[in-house]
């Protein structure tokens, strides 16, 4: 049993080592994704181009625009002279925001009338504008508090009866990286592990070597384990690359136990490999295996909570999400790395992964054919 298993493992490793492109892809892909997601993606974009349409050039409007610029979200790159011009800028996408200050702005404030300031946003992508718009009112309130002194002091905004204490725990700066980089672990492993094993078995059929293998006295479990084992090692290296980069390049905290995370990752890798193996028993050729892997990857990215908030999805989508190993693993990684979660905190997610492994593993073995029928 052990000897046959080792023979399969050895064969897989030798073949893998000679398949330079696949080998390079398995390590190139996580690095590329890390760089893209880690450096290029920010859900809290700053310095958005803004046009100013100011008909009032007094000190108060100036203080307000300065306060808005100080939030970091608005970069006043253009100034418009007419509403039509400002509109065109927004329409053509030259600016994300137009801030309009009417001519009677200061006068109305001094007369104790309610003054208006207009912030128009290109809200086609709500993620881009959301945080910036939320920062507008506090910034203006702050600017006015400084400006409205002396006889105008009575106009200054007063603090309400309730003070809200906000406490952004686990990721106080709201850093996208802290959220995305651990999540990448789930995506990269889903992508490579499922695909690699799915290809590993179909390749045998496609190259005509399966008939030979089936004619030999080897048991399905030996083929399955032997084909899966080398990829566990590759998965481990990928994990090391991602975690190393998380620490060194992106300074993502590691609040919890590395050992616990490693154990959970190993479990997740195995689940994905079993899924890939199951695909390979269904797919007729490598192309189909590839297509099935991508078909599986899609919900794993979209419905797992990696790309979009899990709680923002309707119940049916959440239900699908719950059946995906990536969803559970994503919670585990984020919990361990950012929240310093211990075993009891993530036990439920680990149990879900174990259940999936049992189901998929049984399915894979049941589907694997000892004959060519």
């Amino acid at each position: 049993m052990l000897r046959r298993l080792l023979a399969i493992i050895r064969k897989e490793v030798l073949q893998l080592r000679r398949d330079k492109l696949t080998f390079a892809m398995m390590f190139g892909m996580p690095i590329m994704q890390l760089i893209l997601f880690g450096y290029a993606i920010d859900n809290d974009p700053k310095g958005l181009p803004t046009a100013l349409l100011a008909a009032d050039h007094g000190s108060m409007p100036r203080a307000i625009t300065a306060a808005l610029a100080n939030t970091g979200y608005f970069a006043i790159t253009r100034s418009a002279t007419s509403e039509a011009e400002a509109d065109a800028m927004l329409q053509q996408g030259e600016v994300q925001f137009v801030i309009s200050i009417p001519a009677d702005f200061t006068r109305r404030i001094i007369r104790h009338e309610r003054a208006q300031i207009a912030v128009e946003a290109d809200a086609t992508d709500p993620t881009t504008t959301g945080n910036a718009l939320a920062a507008v009112e506090p910034a203006i309130a702050q600017a006015l508090a400084r400006e409205l002194t002396g006889p105008l002091a009575s106009l200054a905004p007063k603090p309400g009866p309730v003070e809200v204490v906000l406490h952004r725990r686990y990721n106080p700066e709201g850093s996208t990286r802290d959220n995305v980089v651990p999540g990448l672990l789930a995506v990269i492993l889903t992508m490579t592990m499922v695909m690699m094993t799915a290809l590993a078995v179909t390749r045998e059929y496609e190259r005509g070597t399966m008939e030979n293998l089936l004619a030999m006295p080897i048991r399905p479990i030996e083929v399955m384990l032997g084909k899966i084992a080398p990829y566990i090692a590759i998965g481990a290296v990928q994990v090391a690359v991602v975690l190393g980069a998380a620490k060194l390049l992106f300074d993502v905290p590691m609040a919890g136990s590395l050992a616990l995370l490693s154990a959970a990752t190993l479990l997740f890798i195995t689940v994905n490999l079993a899924i890939g193996f199951t695909f390979s028993t269904v797919a007729r050729n490598q192309l189909q295996a590839m297509q099935m892997s991508f078909f599986f990857l899609m919900p794993s990215i979209l419905l797992s909570g990696f790309a979009f908030p899990f709680r923002g999805m309707p119940a049916w989508a959440q239900l699908i999400g719950e059946t995906l190993p990536a969803t559970h693993f994503l919670r585990v990684v984020r919990a361990v790395m950012l929240k310093g979660a211990g075993l009891p905190d993530i036990a439920a997610e680990l149990a879900a992964l174990l259940l999936l492994l049992a189901l998929v593993g049984t399915l894979a073995l049941a589907r694997y054919r000892v004959t060519l029928d």
Binding site: R3, R4, L6, A7, R10, K11, L14, Q15, R18, D19, R207, G208, T209, E211, N212, L213, L214, A215, M216, P217, I218, V370, T371, L372, D373
Partner: protein, 308 residues
């Protein structure tokens, strides 16, 4: 003596198409049995049924004394099956391929066995080359070496010499006979008549049905065919005139001579009678060949391939 292969009524269907149709086959130990038949006649399927790669829809039997279905694992351990398509790993070296096969079969003291196999093959110097780099003939010899490494008692070879040059074919067949001499039973499918004649016995299958069985001489004798050979200037050109004549199964040119055969001697004589007077050509009665017999057999069976 228990037969190495003894199967009865083997049936394999794919959908409505019957690929193997009630095949009975018995092969005694140490015999080289040639398995012949046109493309798509069910040769490969029958071999796969025997070595447990396919489950028969009907029929039963034993292989090396083990039940065809219940003893599948035991049969696999004692059988070497060489697939029609090169079944070894092209991205492994020659040596790695042999070692892999040896490990799967759990051969004790594998290294010297692999060394010996490489030596016998004459591939010791090339043992670290990738198997994919070998030429067709070498690939087949390597595949054979890989499937006899565990010293099986039964060898199933599926068209092992297709597309291989004559010298390599001869070497390959010498090896088959050497193996048979050690007591191994060989069932080998082929399209080549000269190879069929090198077998102890042959089995002819067409459209899933076993049509003839016995030694080459027996198969020819029981066919009841008659044959004539015409020699002389332009004899080969007469072939088209005879091909469709009544009573003629086949008329084929062999170099400058013409070989004609038919199931009924009288009808055949009548068919060639008008051509007997052709000047410069002499007609002689001849022995029908195996090829004559197979073409004759093939014509007798309606093609059931269209039923599917």
């Amino acid at each position: 003596m228990t037969p190495a292969i003894a199967v009865r009524g083997l049936v394999k269907r794919y959908g409505r198409r019957t690929v193997v149709d009630h095949v009975d086959l018995t092969v005694m130990p140490g015999r080289v049995c040639g398995f012949l038949g046109p493309n798509g006649s069910g040769k490969t399927t029958t071999l796969r049924l025997i070595c447990g790669l396919l489950t028969p829809d009907a029929g039963s039997g034993t292989c090396l004394g083990e039940d065809l279905i219940a003893g599948r694992a035991a049969i696999k351990r004692q059988t070497g099956y060489m697939t029609q398509k090169f079944g070894l790993y092209e991205d492994l070296t020659i040596r790695e391929n042999l070692e892999f096969a040896g490990d799967i079969h759990g051969i004790a003291n594998l290294r010297p066995r692999v060394d010996a196999a490489l030596d016998r093959l004459g591939l010791t110097a090339r043992q670290h080359q990738l198997a994919g780099a070998l030429s067709g003939g070498w690939k087949q010899r390597l595949a054979l070496a890989a499937c006899v490494l565990h010293q099986p008692r039964l060898l199933l070879l599926d068209e092992p010499t297709a597309g291989v040059d004559p010298k390599a074919r001869r070497d390959f067949w010498d090896e088959i006979h050497a193996l048979a001499a050690t007591g191994i039973t060989v069932l080998v499918s082929t399209h080549y008549m000269d190879e069929a004649e090198r077998c102890h016995e042959i089995a002819y299958i067409a459209y899933g049905k076993l049509l003839a069985r016995g030694s080459a001489a027996e198969v020819i004798a029981t066919s009841g065919l008659a044959a004539f050979v015409a020699t002389g200037e332009g004899a080969d050109r007469l072939a088209p005139k005879l091909r469709d004549a009544p009573g003629v199964t086949a008329a084929a040119a062999f170099g400058a001579s013409l070989h004609v055969c038919g199931p009924d001697p009288t009808a055949l004589a009548a068919a060639i009678a008008p051509l007997r007077a052709t000047p410069g050509i002499t007609w002689q009665e001849a022995e029908p060949t195996l090829e004559d017999v197979f073409i004759h057999l093939m014509r007798q069976v309606p093609d059931n391939a269209d039923q599917g």
